[in-house]
Amino acid sequence: MADRIGEPVLADGTLALQAAEADVARPTASRWRLLRQRNFVIGVILLAIVVIPVLLAPVLSPVGPDTQNAGATFLAPSVTHLTSLMGTDEFGRSVWVRVLYGGRYSIGASIAVVVIGGTAGTALGLVAGYLGGTVGFLIMRVVDLLLAFPGILLALAVTAILGPSLVNAVIAVAIVAVPLYARIVEGAAREIRNLPYVRASRALGAGPRHIIVRHVLPGAMPAVIVQTTVWLGVAVLWIAALGFLGLGVQPPTPEWGQMVSDGQASLTIAWWVAVFPGLFLAVFVVGISLVGDALRDRLNPTAVGA
């Protein structure tokens, strides 16, 4: 492969150029943005594929999620009947219906996590970031301590204390979300607090509540929004994980993670029981990730690449 100076070759080191000329040499900036927009559309479509049926669960379910049918156990998926679209499980329950209703629990729980954890975390971050000083320092050290526990460990510990149930799972995952929100909001609050126009505002006698609501909160919003899209995905995964481990929703309540766990025992003879709930979960999370990525690009124009 003889590269010639006149022909395009692999890019490396090209872009170390002066400002004006560099703008010419970076034609891909706009192309990347278009790609991001396309990702956004794909993400929304994926989300719609999952969320719309879940929302319409009662309409799309010929039978209930708990309706057992001893004569129709472990039916393979078939398109003849809506009930058996995704087959049936060991109790003859329609996997399709359970996936739809399970989605309500899974997605609903993750929304609860984000609302509770996000609000608490944001509040904590605002206080710590705005007040600073000893109070802020102590709050952030507690935040650091909570963040010292990797991944799902803290949530597991909390469910160990509180006992297995969907509510406790939501609390457990929310507790993990709080320090993450707090850290991000605290950073933003600290920065905004020192901006010239905010200091001017304080000098003019504006009270802390006014400052926080009018200046700090709006400034921290982009970061919070990005974090929320990320956490909607993470939360639904972790709720499902806890459900899978038997520490979340208790049977017979349908929830995607718990359903996968149910299906694991009969994996070799009835793969559909475990696969479909997980598939919906995966599609939902991929959709959220794509949307979140595009949002992050929109809100953080200086961030490049991943």
Binding site: D12, P150, L156, A160, G278
Partner: protein
């Protein structure tokens, strides 16, 4: 030297804080700690009395903490009445398996992530770039427990290449390691890509080419080495994800390990084991992060210098 000292001190403080938090966990469990620890045997008054004496529950809380910490530092992690064994033995039996799993997962995520990220960076803005990053994003979004089941279905059931459950030695490690590693691989790939792009655009690369170095030398000596440096920073985070993910993977594959031990202890209300396991995992994560931190000055002359 100051760099090292500062971080060692921070680690010690963190470990102490973690131990306090874990200790308090036991106090938060509904009912008395004694009945929590004894579980079924809680009805035996002699056992209750003995344990009460042992734990010094009639003493103030800080003293109890001190006694517990002292025990931990001497290797006494409590006793699991459910398993009729000292917890330290249980952990000793299970830890190596988890370490092997996490190690294999780390290897897969690093090798795969670097390859994928490098392909995307070198062929930036081509379809290859979009495809590899799309794969990376999807991998991150997939629920690991579901991915594990899919891998089992494909590689153990449909194509009987690997054992379905358990499986010892190397063959039994493959599917679980891949399940664990693939999710983390996605994050690594995106990071490697952006790191490479940043380095590829930097002036010293153009300068290296201007010296007359061939493309391969420039890539290996001036791009790759500089780009992989930031990757070290996320290895610490990856280990956290791996430890956290190991919990789920061990449950999916019924593989012995710390993760499975933790989950089973929670389900069995074996709080002594839960407490010790959480402590060990969190401590391990903290120490690992320190080790990674200490690598920076070795790899990057700009950091921690005199």
């Amino acid at each position: 030297m100051f760099y090292v000292g500062k971080r060692l001190l921070a680690l010690v403080v963190l470990l102490v804080a973690i131990s306090i938090l874990v200790f308090l966990m036991l106090q938060l469990i509904p009912g008395s700690p004694v009945s929590a620890l004894l579980g079924q045997s809680a009805t035996n008054p002699a056992a209750v009395a003995r344990l009460t004496q042992e734990l010094g529950l009639n003493r103030p809380l800080p003293v109890q903490y001190w006694r517990w910490l002292d025990g931990v530092l001497h290797g006494n992690l409590g006793y699991s009445y459910q398993n009729q064994q000292p917890v330290s033995v249980l952990i000793g039996q299970n830890l190596p398996s988890t370490l092997a799993l996490a190690g294999a997962g780390l290897l897969i995520s690093l090798v795969g992530g670097i390859l994928l990220g490098a392909v995307a960076a070198v062929r930036r803005d081509t379809p290859a770039d979009s495809v590899t990053m799309g794969i990376a994003m999807t991998l991150v979004a997939l629920p690991s427990f579901w991915l594990g089941l899919i891998l089992i279905l494909v590689f153990a059931v449909a194509l009987p290449v690997f054992p379905v459950f358990g499986g010892s030695g190397l063959r039994g490690l493959v599917l679980p390691a891949f399940t664990l590693g693939l999710g983390v691989l996605g994050i690594t790939a995106r990071f490697v890509r952006s790191s490479l792009l940043e380095v590829m655009d930097s002036p010293h690369v153009v300068a290296a080419r201007a010296k007359g170095l061939n493309r391969r030398t420039v890539f290996l000596k001036h791009i790759a080495r500089n780009a992989l440096l930031p990757v070290v920073t996320i290895i610490g985070l990856q280990i956290g994800s791996l430890l956290s993910g190991a919990v789920l993977v061990e449950m999916v594959f019924s593989r012995p390990g710390i993760g499975r031990l933790l989950v089973q202890s929670i389900l069995n209300k074996d709080y002594a084991t839960v407490q010790a396991t959480v402590l060990i995992i969190a401590a391990f994560y903290a120490v690992t992060n320190l080790v990674v931190d200490l690598l920076y000055p070795v790899l990057d002359p700009r950091i921690g210098g005199a």
